[in-house]
């Protein structure tokens, strides 16, 4: 096949879809269409006539594709999912990444592999980014909680900021809890006791 295959990406997540589209274009696949609206999906796909469909595993529309490819006569050419016994390892990697692919029969295996590999790596990139973002958010939230707890302690016990921090840390260590959790319990206790917040 010389022309670039038509690739459809079905993903409701804008950021992840954009990352994947970029990856596919970088790999030389120019005919990439992304569908975010899965209403009347079968009709949309019949008109796009894709060679490869990439779909995220959290999308309930996967079963629509199964119907379309396995049983329905609404697609004019034979289509098969990209899974035969030899592709087991890749399918497993795709599932771990949270993505699945459906591919037209007869498309060159190497091209399919490139597309699926790209999907797997971009989905993994996205998960990593999201985990990092989540971590950064937690860190920021933790820091705010600790600051507030320190303020309450400084005010209530007339101690310095360093002393308040040392006390929090020591308590966290002896109770085997996270510093932020101890700080949160200081805030909660202060709220319950009607303490003035600083």
């Amino acid at each position: 096949m010389s022309a670039s295959p038509v690739v459809v990406v079905i993903d409701e997540n804008d950021v992840r879809a954009a990352i994947l589209e970029d990856g596919l274009r970088e790999a030389g696949f120019v005919g990439v269409t992304r569908l975010s609206d899965t209403t009347n999906l079968m009709r949309q796909l019949v008109s796009l006539d894709p060679d490869v469909i990439i779909i995220d595993l959290e999308n309930p529309s996967r079963d629509v594709l199964e119907q379309m490819f396995q049983v329905s006569r609404s697609v004019s050419r034979p289509v098969a999912m990209f899974v035969d016994q030899s592709d087991s390892e890749m399918t497993n990697a795709a599932m771990d990444a949270g993505v699945s692919a459906y591919v037209v029969d007869g498309l060159k295996k190497e091209r399919v592999k490139t597309i699926v590999d790209t999907a797997i790596s971009r989905f993994n990139t996205f998960s990593k980014l999201r985990a990092e973002l989540e971590e950064a958010r937690t860190e920021l939230a933790d820091r705010k909680v600790i600051e507030r707890a320190k303020g309450i302690m400084m005010h209530a016990r007339k101690i310095s900021e360093d002393e308040a921090y040392t006390l929090l840390r020591r308590t966290a260590m002896t109770q085997k809890k996270r510093l932020a959790d101890i700080a949160q319990s200081v805030i909660t206790a202060s709220d319950l006791l009607g303490g003035t917040d600083i």
């Binding site: 309930p60 996967r62 594709l65 199964e66 329905s72």
Partner: protein, 398 residues
């Protein structure tokens, strides 16, 4: 409660009313009572259930009756041997049509008798013929997955009504959670799906359930406990413990005094996540409000030997796969299909002296295969080829 005797078991389910046995076994401690530590995983698609079971993310899962058969035959995916050593109930589906289509049906038959498949089927056939004459669009019916009892019972009923599936009506697939919206927006004219989606369509005045699965054939397989054969063979004690605890959960779900609590539990966003009111409607069998639900209950979790996975039920599903061209018939395929539903394992788990089994055996002839199809037909599991040849509307030719 006994401590867990076995490694943790991961089970997949789809948020539907008939996932209740899994949820209740976990919530009410039936798994724990039998030494099991189970983690439930809510999934969004049947394809995910299949794949995660194949690749070992799940040890077992709630599956549509035809799914393990399709897996053994290698339809739509890898060929992987699976078994169904327990059924999770009977009934629980309905065919729902849009309010527009219902109005058309009432126009051709003012005395339309909901819950009566012969009567309703005749009215639908007339509507379809009129539509064709007037050059209207073909009606579109949705199911949730190709290898589902929904698909096969809907096709069975249409064919018995003189309507040729794929010729006179089109089929599409829509995820269960989008069914009501698809009906409302006119993308589909009807659907056949598990509860609570028919009840919700009725509650929102978008559609009306016209017949139930039990109106068509009360013995038809619905959801099963499915698993890889190699896993089941390597862990017979876990399989037995799963069956015994799920059987106890099914008995709990069946008890009328528990239905209110069951509806509340299922309505949690962790599980089905729709209103308890809609769920109650299906649990009490009031899905087709004005229609009689015939002599068979709309759904049963445990009554009528509902949990016995008759190999004949699997064979009927196989016959329908052949009938609609989803698989080519072969004696080899028939043998494969025969070995998927495993009443022997269900019996082994419950102990061969269980009163349920004696009752189940007695039910087999009367309740399941002979003369219980609404159109008067019988299915003889010992002669599938003869049955296939007897079907008028069919993609099969002997």
């Amino acid at each position: 409660m006994t401590a867990s005797r076995f490694p943790k078991v991961h089970l997949g389910f789809i948020p539907l009313v008939d996932s209740a046995p899994f949820i209740i076994a976990e919530q009410k401690g039936f798994f724990a009572n039998h030494g099991l530590e189970v983690e439930l995983h809510k999934e969004v698609s049947w394809a995910n259930i299949r794949d995660r079971t194949i690749y070992g993310h799940f040890h077992a899962a709630q599956m549509l009756g035809p799914m393990p058969i399709a897996a053994c035959l290698g339809l739509g995916h890898l060929k992987v041997d699976m078994i169904a050593p327990m059924a999770l109930g009977l009934g629980g589906n309905a065919v729902t049509v849009s309010t527009d289509l219902l109005a058309n049906m009432r126009a051709v038959d003012p005395g339309l008798s909901l819950g009566n498949p012969t009567n309703v089927g005749r009215a639908l056939a007339t509507c379809i013929a009129e539509r064709k004459q007037q050059g209207g669009d073909q009606l579109v019916f949705a199911v949730v997955y190709p290898f589902s009892a929904h698909n096969y019972e809907l096709r069975y009923w249409l064919a018995a009504s003189g309507i040729r599936p794929d010729h006179d009506v089109r089929f599409t697939a829509v995820p269960p959670s989008q069914m009501v919206a698809a009906l409302k927006e006119g993308h589909i004219d009807g659907f056949c799906v598990g509860e609570p989606w028919s009840s919700l369509a009725g509650q929102e005045n978008v559609g009306q359930a016209i017949i139930s699965k039990s109106n068509i054939w009360p013995g038809c397989s619905e959801k099963v406990l499915g698993m890889r054969t190699d896993w089941a063979e390597a862990h017979p004690e876990i399989v037995d413990a799963l069956i015994v605890s799920l059987d106890a959960a099914c008995a709990w779900c069946e008890a009328p005094e528990n239905r209110g609590e069951l509806a509340d539990i299922l309505s949690s966003p962790d599980f089905v996540g729709t209103s308890a009111q809609a769920i109650s409607r299906s649990l009490t069998g009031n899905v087709i409000e004005e229609g009689a639900v015939s002599e068979a209950a709309f759904m049963s979790f445990h009554a009528d030997a509902a949990n016995m996975p008759w190999s004949g039920q699997g064979l009927w599903l196989y016959s329908q796969m052949v009938r609609w061209g989803h698989v080519a018939h072969s004696s080899q395929g028939l043998d494969v299909a025969k070995s998927v539903y495993r009443p022997d394992i269900y019996a082994r788990a419950l102990g061969n002296t269980s009163p349920i089994l004696g009752k189940a055996m007695a039910q087999e002839k009367t309740n399941f295969f002979s003369g219980r199809f609404y159109d008067g037909c019988s299915f003889d599991p010992t002669d599938v080829e003869k049955y296939l040849s007897s079907l008028e509307v069919s993609a099969y030719s002997a």
